[in-house]
């Protein structure tokens, strides 16, 4: 047990280190690439600015005589620049520094230019980084762009350097934590291990020395705490094993009275025992009682695992954070240097035309325009000892970070071979701090995601390698102790626990064989003993020891933990593209030019939701007909196909169709999992298991959302779909190999989906108020705001996919954290209606703030607010609807009422999404957010009115 646990811990910590390391490197590359692009964009920007006076006149960029000379200047500012091109609005290169005179830019570069809502844009191909800056005329139309191509060598070198450091650190940390886990596990499991090792002997009937014949054990003296850590449970198991032995001995004795020569040699413990009967298969609901030894050990191991995983991830995260910061710091100062160089060169160019330094006209407004795109520069000045021109506000020298003040005078302005002035540049320390804070937050996300993934793997591994075996033994021992020898199980023989279980199984098989032989009698025609009395006695023995002529039935244990990782991976795969899906759709070919772009990009989501609505009623009947396992595996196939189709998709209809397929898969998988949990959990533990189901589902969603952004940034958006397909495939394989094949419960006829009583339910005013006031706004908030508007608004504000992913995941994190808290608040007697109402208002108010003043921070707060609000609403909504269903709508039944609520809210969320998309197209994202906010606030008001004067709904146990 100790060795297995230690191997499990070591493997999981290794996996965790690998995930943290890999994600850290990806994150580092994303940050560095972004900084590189920003630096190169300075070159693109200054070159584009040179074209502007002519573009402002209304002339096309291609009509400028010295265009080639203008783009060539950019090469002087940075000798690593590979090429600079000036493009017309259709992407045709009109001027270039490239001697081969390429005619067009690569397709992905053109796409980045066309899709960008900002003047500044960038992209990355296999070999180069591209930064573009649009030349916008006075009329606001884009007349062309300047594109700077930069080799990826610097990025790749930095990436490799950080990779080497991460691998080295991860190995050291892994070795240290592996050793630490051995020490801690020895303390925790050493004594139980020694005692469990003797279980085999106990199972065979040998007395346990430590327990003694009277069942008492020494529980005092030094190390007693550790020694007796699982004492009561082990003693219980020992007692059961001893009782099982006694029961077996009694049964053998009694069956021995019918003994025939053929059965004489039957020894339960003999290794060559052959069961002559065909065992029947039966899958049993595994109760896994909370006081069982397996659960006790798991509940002790889980916190230890969590502490070891979090701390090892944090150690690697913190060390890597330092490395990442050191890696990006030179890039930040390189950009500042470049800006200073560019300012100096612009001034030199002006002086070279013959204008005296003191007579520069409108230089301040020129540089002020430039600084609008360079947020980190607070102040630029040209000085000769006195300041000749200045823009922005000076940073107090004591506030500015020392590294930014280095080389203040390192950018001289030369004229006729003499230094006549120099550039002063002040970097805004707040901007730099924000950059480092961003990196810190990114690393935090990496650690959280890695720990969640590792935790799921740990739960699965410890269940498979440790607790499941103990649980099997406990169940068999308990049954046999009670005289029930009707069951066997499939176990290995590697551990003492399994060997002990094997002893019990062999006894059950032996007794069955003995019983069968006795029943058939000599010649196989009569009962041994040859009388009715003998038959009656045998029948009594059969009933007492639950024996069967066919031998013991095989138990197959099924646990929710078998499904956890699969569900987690599936949910993550589904949400990986969340942060870039609208952008991916926008980039695809649109065969419906008459359709507004905002509506168009909402269609994949609408198709996905529609599929969920239409398919959900069939999920439960299908799961009953096929069994959840088969349904899960069957649903994985179209999901994988849909992800692959998305990878290949180039047009909007393809994306809509494949997302619709995904909706079908998602509905079947999540509902089949839910059914599996319900079917395989004892009734009294169902709520807890469903809560765990929700946690795993949202954990997966959270990780998918958080990871999708950074993966899209580094691997490319379409490749993320391949990863999603892989996740689903692994998920399907896990289900195939781990999940028990519970028999279908179909009664031979195909199950039909019941139609929920929509109108009948809505006639109830309280139910209608709940649906329209709470459920629909909540769903519209999720589908229209979280899944649609956030990505688009943040993108239009210049956020990267990684930023978008990080913001979005806050929603799911808030739901995961607040959901259980809200349930607890309700359990303390606070009205559920009040919780739902507060959630609705919170959602509305936070969205309104973002609508009034859209910025990265207000959107973040709106996402957080709506996450907290939705967390409050989510449980309360089910609880309230169940209350109504059990009282005012009792005649309709609880399930149909809940079905009606789900159907209406899903349909409404599709309608809401399309409406919000249309509003976004007509009036902009801010108005669209305001519409969602108004819906949430109006709904909360409506619901508030409906609960006025109504007695507070009793708090119910929360359901997912």
């Amino acid at each position: 047990m100790l060795l297995r646990s230690w191997i499990t811990f070591s493997v999981v910590i290794a996996l965790l280190q690998a995930v943290v390391g890999l994600l850290s490197v990806l994150q580092h590359n994303a940050v560095l690439s972004d900084l590189l692009r920003q630096r190169i964009s300075v070159i693109a920007q200054t070159t584009a600015t040179s074209f502007k006076p002519i573009i402002d006149l209304g002339l096309p960029i291609s009509m400028i005589r010295n265009g080639d000379a203008i783009v060539a200047r950019a090469l002087e500012t940075d000798d690593e620049v590979k090429a600079v091109h000036a493009l017309n609005p259709t992407g045709i290169i009109v001027y270039s520094t490239d001697a081969s005179r390429p005619k067009e830019v690569p397709r992905e570069v053109l796409q980045a230019m066309q899709l960008s809502k900002e003047v500044k844009w960038s992209t990355e191909t296999g070999e180069q980084i591209y930064s573009g800056f649009n030349v916008v005329g006075r009329d606001g139309a884009t007349s062309g762009a300047v594109l700077v191509a930069y080799p990826k060598d610097r990025l790749e070198a930095a990436s490799q350097a950080i990779m080497r450091k991460v691998v080295r650190n991860a190995l050291v940390i892994w070795a240290a934590f592996s050793a630490l886990s051995y020490v801690l596990l020895s303390l925790l499991l050493g004594a139980p291990q020694r005692r469990l090792a003797r279980l085999e002997g106990v199972a065979r009937g040998e007395p346990d020395a430590q327990i003694g014949v009277n069942g008492n054990m020494k529980t005092s003296g030094s190390g007693a705490f550790w020694r007796d850590l699982f004492g009561p449970q082990i003693r219980q198991l020992d007692a059961n094993l001893a009782d099982a032995r006694r029961q077996y001995d009694a049964a053998t004795r009694e069956l021995g009275a019918f003994e025939l020569p053929a059965a004489k040699d039957w020894q339960a413990e003999s290794d060559d025992a052959v069961v002559a009967t065909t065992p029947t298969l039966e899958t049993e609901v595994a109760s896994n009682p909370s006081r069982s030894l397996a659960r006790q050990i798991a509940s002790r191991l889980a916190p230890l695992a969590a502490v070891l995983m979090v701390s090892s991830a944090l150690v690697l995260g913190m060390i890597t954070l330092g490395n990442v910061n050191r890696s990006i710091e030179p890039e930040l100062s390189a950009r500042t240097n470049l800006i200073a160089t560019v300012v100096g060169e612009d001034v030199q160019r002006a002086l070279a035309t013959g204008v005296p330094l003191d007579s520069l006209v409108s230089a301040e407004s020129f540089f002020a325009d430039m600084l609008k795109q360079l947020p980190e520069i607070a102040y630029v000045a040209v000085a000769t000892g006195r300041v000749v021109l200045e823009v922005g506000e000076r940073i107090d020298p004591y506030l500015a970070p020392p590294r930014e003040r280095k080389g203040v005078r390192s950018h001289p302005i030369m004229h006729n071979g003499e230094e006549i002035a120099y550039v002063v540049i002040d970097v805004d320390p707040a901007f730099i701090s924000k950059k480092f804070l961003d990196v810190f937050l990114d690393m935090g996300v990496v650690v959280v995601v890695a720990v969640l993934i590792a935790f799921e793997i740990m739960v699965l591994m410890s269940s498979r390698s440790l607790t499941a075996a103990l649980d099997r033994l406990q169940r068999l021992a308990a049954m046999q102790a009670a005289g029930d020898f009707s069951k066997r199980a499939i176990v290995g023989a590697r551990t003492a626990i399994d060997r002990a279980a094997q002893v019990l199984i062999e006894r059950a098989e032996g007794l069955s064989a003995q019983f069968a032989a006795a029943w058939q009698g000599p010649g196989g025609s009569d009962v041994a003993g040859g009388s009715d009395a003998g038959r009656t006695r045998l029948a009594a023995l059969q009933a007492r020891y639950c024996l069967s002529l066919n031998g013991p039935a095989t138990l197959r244990f099924s646990y929710f933990t078998d499904l956890r990782l699969a569900l987690f991976l599936f949910a993550a795969a589904d949400e990986l593209p969340l942060s870039f899906m609208p952008l991916y759709t926008r980039a695809a070919h649109n065969p419906f030019p008459w359709l507004s772009e905002t509506v168009l990009i909402s269609l994949p989501l609408a198709g996905y939701l529609l599929a969920i609505v239409l398919v959900s009623p069939f999920a439960r009947p299908l799961a009953r007909w096929l069994g959840p396992r088969r349904l899960l595996i069957l649903a994985a196939a179209p999901t994988i196909a849909a992800h692959l189709w998305l990878y290949l998709a180039s047009s909007v209809p393809e994306i809509v169709a494949s997302r619709t397929m995904l909706g079908v898969g998602y509905a079947f998988v999540t509902l089949a999992c839910q059914d599996y949990v319900i079917d395989n959990t004892p009734r009294d533990e169902r709520d807890r298991s469903l809560g765990m189901f929700s946690t795993v589902l949202f954990g997966g969603i959270f990780c998918g959302t958080a990871l999708g952004g950074v993966l899209a940034d580094r691997l490319g958006q379409s490749n993320v779909f391949l990863l999603s397909a892989t996740f689903v495939l692994i998920s399907a394989l896990l289900i195939f190999s781990l999940v028990a094949d519970t028999a279908s419960r179909g009664d031979g006829t195909r199950a039909k989906a019941a139609r929920p009583p929509l109108l009948a339910a809505l006639r109830n005013w309280h139910f209608a108020a709940l649906v329209f006031g709470i459920a629909i706004p909540g769903n519209v908030c999720l589908q229209a705001f979280i899944s649609y508007l956030v990505a688009l608004t943040l993108d239009s504000l210049g956020a990267s996919p990684a930023d978008i992913g990080r913001t979005l995941m806050v929603y799911f994190l808030a739901i995961a954290l607040v959901g259980p808290l809200a349930g607890r608040v309700a359990e303390r007697g606070i009205s559920v209606s009040a919780v739902a109402l507060s959630g609705g208002f919170l959602c509305g108010i936070s969205l309104l703030t973002a609508a009034i003043r859209p910025s990265e921070i207000t959107i973040f707060l709106a996402v957080l607010g709506s996450g907290v609000g939705s967390g409050m609403v989510r449980g309360a909504q089910v609880s309230l609807s169940m209350s109504i269903a059990e009282t005012e709508l009792k005649h309709l039944g609880a399930d149909p009422v809940l079905g009606a609520l789900r159907t209406i809210e899903r349909f409404a969320s599709i309608a809401g999404l399309l409406l919000v998309a249309a509003v976004a197209g007509l009036y902009g994202y801010a108005v669209a957010i305001a519409v969602v906010a108004a819906l949430a606030l109006g709904g909360a008001l409506l619901f508030g009115l409906s609960v006025l004067g109504k007695p507070a709904a009793p708090a119910r146990q929360q359901a997912p």
């Binding site: 600015t49 040179s50 074209f51 502007k52 006076p53 002519i54 402002d56 006149l57 209304g58 002339l59 291609s62 009509m63 400028i64 005589r65 010295n66 203008i70 612009d346 160019r349 002006a350 070279a352 035309t353 013959g354 204008v355 007579s359 520069l360 006209v361 409108s362 230089a363 020129f366």
Partner: protein, 334 residues
């Protein structure tokens, strides 16, 4: 001896015949220029030569005298020319007339014609539009920016600019048309136009002494910026005209780059004239070498426009260009 003489005669006849045949293979281009063979003319000849196409370019200089046009037309027909190149609005109108003159034998209707440096070929009804001239034997080039852009340049340069001076010569059709157009667009751009005729009442070439008088008048009316518009007369008297302007504190904006590069105009945005000649040569080669019908060819636009600023003049007038201009402008110091 006789046999030698006969052989020599045979050789001579062969030589003459070969030469005549060779001359017959070479295309004949007649360039009818208004102010001598200037930059456009040089650019055209250079491009034809560079192409390696067998063609001879013969130049006729009208010396700003429209009365010489009929002689030029007669020469074109006598040669006979395979293609005629016409320069400027006056010269082109004289050689091919307007769209209404396509059946008028006084104009060339049978020989392919390429026009260059016509300020407004559409306003003057020389051609129908950029897609094609609307005449089977005519095509051409276009090398000016719209007049509104010329006003916009000044506004960019000097945000306080609100009054534009213009000298025009009503004897030149293009000059009169430009003046009319500016009178129409100036109010829409919020600019007051002070347009003065150089030598009113004089139906022939204006008296150059009037230039200084008009310039002083403009100064008195508060004009600080003067637009050249389109006038061969002012172009031909560039040195005097631009120098007088500077003396009166007036900065000249010119659609003719040489007025900035070689004289004292302060600012221009124009295509390089040599490049206009190259474009005309491309048109000519499409017709003569590739067999294109002139009427099927579009009127090609010049593409290499540049800001040119005369920094010496800017210094004298103490009106340095804005910083952004200096990043793109070609500065001239003379």
């Amino acid at each position: 001896m006789k046999s030698i003489a006969r052989k020599l005669l045979t050789l001579a006849v062969f030589f003459v015949l070969t030469t005549v045949a060779s001359a017959a293979d070479r295309k004949q281009i007649l360039g009818i220029f208004y102010e001598g063979c200037e930059n456009v003319c040089e650019g055209f000849k250079a491009a034809i030569k560079k192409s390696g196409f067998a063609a001879d370019v013969t130049i006729i200089d009208l010396a700003q005298d429209k009365s010489r046009i009929p002689t030029a037309i007669a020469k074109a027909r006598a040669m006979p020319a395979d293609l005629v190149l016409t320069y400027g609005t006056n010269g082109t109108l004289g050689v091919i007339g307007t769209l209404d003159d396509t059946a008028n034998p006084a104009f060339i209707t049978e020989i392919p014609v390429v026009f260059v440096k016509v300020a407004d070929p559409f306003g003057t009804h020389i051609a129908k539009g950029f897609e094609g001239s609307g005449r089977a034997n005519v095509t051409g080039t276009f090398n000016r920016v719209p007049e509104a852009i010329n006003i916009e340049i000044v506004r960019q340069y000097d945000p306080t600019f609100d009054k534009l001076g213009l000298l025009y010569n009503s004897n030149e059709r293009n000059s009169a048309i430009t003046a009319e157009e500016l009178k129409k667009i100036a109010p829409t751009l919020g600019i007051e136009l002070v347009a003065l005729e150089i030598d009113p009442g004089n139906n022939s070439v204006p008296n150059i002494a009037r230039i200084a008088e008009r310039m002083a008048e403009l100064r008195e009316q508060g004009v600080r910026w003067l637009y050249v518009g389109s006038s061969s007369f002012l172009n031909a008297n560039g040195e005097l005209f631009t120098k007088t302007a500077v003396e009166n504190g007036i900065a000249i904006v010119s659609p003719y780059e040489p007025l900035v590069r070689e004289h004292h105009a302060m600012l221009s945005i124009a295509a390089r004239l040599e490049n206009v000649g190259h474009l005309a040569a491309e048109q000519a080669l499409s017709i003569l070498r590739d067999g294109a019908t002139p009427g099927d060819l579009p009127i090609v636009r010049a593409t290499d426009f540049a800001y040119v600023v005369n920094m010496e003049v800017a210094k004298k007038l103490d009106r340095y260009p804005p910083f952004a201009f200096l990043q793109v402008a070609e500065a001239v110091n003379n």
